[in-house]
């Protein structure tokens, strides 16, 4: 019973293969703990998809070629085969339950919010981003002509408080395997933990108007010590910082000077 064995394999594949060496199936490895788990889930789904999809594809091809017309006789008028129909109802249900179980395990990890070591208030606006480091007097703003950079410590829990000051935007970092909508009137909170230093490009994923295509930002992940020194090197006076943080997005995008985004942050 090839189909049953294939399906059984498909049910356990996401769980068993999680630790094995598999191709990426096109996805990023994910530079956070949650992102890595999502990547493994991706691999599990892909193995399942290839087994079941490939099996079904071959069945279609077999039926299409093997049973092409060879004469004018009328074949047996078979209409039902209840045991077979039950098999291809029940096995997919089992596969779906397996996929769902694996999904819930990973999902709980990705959406969990452990105690943060650092917090950034992110506000998306047409067409740029404002990063406020609460209590640190650091504010970074950038828009289409100059991407802002969010410096973050590696190996620590980073909490993002995500808002939008106008329309719906998407905070999307492909290499972290994560995105979340920034929505007017709603606060979205999520936490991630980047495992490797590096620069991760992010951009707006949800259509937000004219310059949606140009709404990039960078995440620069550095050691915790470098992060601390970056914070102190870029701190404004409390009054300046409060003014910068309170500046509306429209002021930021219309060029009213807040602390401008920098390209060189003096850290390695």
């Amino acid at each position: 019973m090839t189909s049953r064995r294939a399906a059984l394999l498909a049910v356990i594949a996401p769980l068993v293969l999680a630790g094995c060496q598999l191709p990426t199936f096109g996805a990023n490895h994910g530079a956070t703990k949650g992102g890595t788990e999502s990547f493994k889930l991706w691999q599990g789904f892909s193995v399942t998809a290839i087994i079941i999809g490939g099996f079904t594809f071959l069945l279609i091809l077999w039926a299409a070629f093997r049973y092409r017309r060879r004469g004018d006789s009328i074949p047996r008028q078979t209409q039902y085969n209840i045991p077979l129909e039950l098999i291809y109802t029940i096995i997919p249900i089992l596969v779906v339950i397996g996929l769902f179980a694996a999904t819930v395990v990973v999902e709980n990890q990705v959406v969990s919010n452990p105690t943060p070591n650092a917090t950034v208030d992110v506000t998306a606006f047409q067409w740029g981003w404002k990063f406020v480091y609460p209590g640190q007097n650091v504010v970074v703003v950038g828009q289409t002509t100059q991407d802002p950079t969010m410096v973050l410590p590696v190996g620590e829990n980073v909490r993002i408080d995500l808002r939008s000051s106008d329309v719906v935007h998407g905070f999307y970092v492909p290499k972290l395997n994560f995105s979340r909508f920034a929505q007017p009137g709603l606060l979205n909170v999520f936490t991630f933990n980047i495992d490797q230093p590096g620069i991760y490009t992010g951009q707006c994923s949800q259509l937000c108007g004219l310059y949606h295509s140009l709404m990039y930002f960078q995440i620069k992940a550095v050691s915790p010590a470098a992060y601390q020194s970056w914070l102190s090197a870029n701190a404004l006076s409390p009054a300046q910082a409060a003014a910068a943080a309170a500046a509306t997005a429209s002021q930021a995008s219309s060029g009213i000077p807040v602390k401008p985004a920098q390209t060189n942050y003096g850290v390695k």
């Binding site: 789904f45 999902e107 007017p184 009137g185």
Partner: protein
């Protein structure tokens, strides 16, 4: 003659005598003729043809817009169109394809033509409402097309129009209002079509046509009609609210004044996900008619097929928020399991189509090629959809080209299925076949073009390319994949040209089809091609879900009437 039932108001004719000769409608029609007759017609066949032609023209227009989108994306910094024009292009491409082509073609075009024929009825239940439905749809289409000429251009907020990008401040001008108007008009048109479908199927079935003897296409149209009635009023209500926000100072979808932008997404997708199945079920129905006929076998697992359709419809009402996993405001596990479960009945359908071909005599007419191409393309779209039902995977594929590729696999499968329907029922509607050679050339360009178009987009989406980007200057590595997708789109364009050529060739050198060119199953093949004014002059005795086949193959027992009822009926009861 014992198998013939005389229907009130019609005359019977002798099917034993001359089954292939053309029978002219011998009713006396008093009333207008020519253009006025066409304008005032309440005949479901005229309305069905109107719908089909209008919606196929819209498909060509939507496709042309898509070619411009693909041309823009061959270079990361292309300046073929401006940012504003690009946003208008994909908004109108999506809007025309979804609101003006796919739905109206399926649930109002072919369905209008075929459902009364398949259930043995003289017309739809409410012929005037049916006519109103078409004229509302045409009004909506004109409204959408007029928006191209509006000051400030047409709508540019995507076909989903997420609030508050649609507000009077963010999207000023007449263009967005015409978009709203178009959706309201086509929305009401769809609701009336739904009413008509449900009423016709429940109340106008011929004697003997029990629910479980209805063709799968009619079953799917019944379920589609019910879904329309549940889903479309929600969209239409949301559009009224949006219009009030824009013009009367309400703040339903705006934060100022206490509104909730997220409410739009809920209402939109509460329509939008059933809409996916409102689009898909009719095409499932079409290929479920084509595959048995050209395999020379009954639909395998007929009752399972009906059960699967009902299950898909029920589940589809509880999955809308899988479009909203990244909002952080929906219950992830519920919408995840509901969405994953849809794979089960969908899989049943695919296995039933395979089972129908299994040990058959599969004849590759163009219609059958398109039907098999549909199953393969839909399999790809279905499998990639399973990924998107898992929130952690959706988090990094949402709003990327992976999603674009997924639903284009699905909707291109529907386009391929539509072609199966046109090649299959075209002879019934016109009396003439389309040319097979051109049809096969069209199939292969369309099928290969579709895969060449979608596969690079899956890949570039996983690399992180968000949808709706006019340029991608920071990511030149995405260029090659985009160029391959454009090559695929060009092939799809060529296939459309081949279709137009085929229609012209078949027009110049007509190939008469006869009443029943495919030795088909359902009642529409029992009457003439095209059918007379009120469809039937007589009907065969309906003892199974393929009365015409039973009539033409008296040596075989009707399905469910053999020695092994419901199972293998190879033994000939009449022997």
């Amino acid at each position: 003659m014992t198998d013939l039932i005389e229907r009130p108001g019609t005359e019977s004719f002798d099917h034993h005598g001359g089954h292939d000769e053309v029978h002219h409608d011998n009713h006396d029609h008093h009333g207008p003729s020519g253009l006025l007759k066409w304008l005032t017609s309440t005949d479901h066949k005229v309305i069905g043809i109107n719908y089909t032609v209008t919606s196929v023209l819209m498909m060509v227009l939507g496709g042309a817009l898509a070619e411009v989108i693909r041309a823009q994306l061959v270079s990361p910094t292309s300046t073929l169109v401006s940012f504003a024009q690009y946003n208008q292009l994909f908004t109108m491409h999506g809007s025309i394809m979804i609101y003006l082509f796919a739905g109206p073609f399926a649930f109002a075009g072919l369905a209008n033509y075929l459902v009364p024929l398949q259930v043995g009825a003289p017309d739809m239940a409410f012929p005037r409402l049916n006519a109103l439905s078409y004229w509302l749809y045409l009004g909506g289409t004109i409204s959408m097309l007029l928006s191209f000429f509006a000051t400030g251009g047409p709508a540019a907020f995507g076909w989903v129009g997420y609030a508050p990008l649609t507000s009077a401040v963010n999207a000023p001008g007449v263009g967005p209002d015409l978009w709203i108007g178009a959706l309201m008009l086509t929305g009401f048109s769809a609701i009336f079509s739904g009413v008509n479908l449900v009423a016709t199927i429940f109340y106008l079935r011929a004697p003997g046509m029990t629910l479980f003897r209805m063709p799968i296409f009619t079953w799917n149209m019944l379920v589609t009609g019910i879904l329309i009635l549940l889903a479309f009023p929600v969209l239409t209500a949301a559009l009224v609210m949006l219009y009030c926000d824009r013009h009367f100072g309400t703040h339903i979808f705006e934060v100022q004044g206490g509104g909730v932008p997220l409410l739009w997404q809920h209402m939109f997708w509460f329509w939008g996900h059933p809409e996916v199945y409102i689009l898909a079920l009719p095409f499932f129905g079409m290929v479920s008619e084509v595959i048995p006929v050209f395999s020379k076998k009954p639909m395998f697992g007929y009752k399972g097929m009906v059960f699967a359709t009902l299950t898909i419809a029920a589940l589809s009402l509880g999955v809308w928020a899988h479009h909203m996993f990244t909002t952080g405001a929906v219950l992830l596990p519920f919408f995840s399991i509901m969405s994953l479960l849809i794979a089960v009945p969908t899989g049943i359908k695919i296995f039933n189509w395979i089972g129908t071909m299994w040990k058959g005599q599969v004849e590759y007419t163009s219609a059958m090629l398109f039907a098999v191409g549909f199953v393969i393309t839909f399999l790809i779209g279905g499998i990639t959809g399973i990924y998107l039902a898992s929130p952690p995977l959706d988090f990094f594929t949402h709003d990327t080209y992976f999603v674009v590729a997924h639903f284009h696999s699905v909707v291109m499968a529907l386009v391929i299925g539509a072609m199966a329907g046109i090649y299959f029922w075209g002879p019934k509607i016109t009396g003439y076949k389309l040319h097979e050679g051109w049809g096969k050339a069209q199939f292969w360009t369309l099928f290969i073009g579709t895969q060449l178009f979608t596969f690079p987009l899956y890949w570039v989406g996983l690399k992180g390319m968000p949808r709706r980007m006019a340029v991608y200057p920071n990511n030149p590595s995405w260029q090659a994949l985009n160029q391959w997708a454009t090559v695929g789109a060009i092939l799809i364009g060529i296939s459309t040209l081949l279709f137009v050529i085929n229609v012209l060739v078949s027009w110049r050198k007509p190939i008469p089809a006869g009443d029943n060119p495919w030795d088909a199953n359902s009642l529409e093949w029992f009457t003439t091609s095209p059918p007379p004014h009120h469809n039937f002059l007589s009907l065969p005795k309906i003892r199974s879900e393929r009365p015409t086949w039973d009539y033409n193959h008296p040596d075989y027992p009707a399905l469910g009437h053999g020695k092994h009822a419901g199972a293998e009926t190879q033994e000939k009861a009449n022997a």
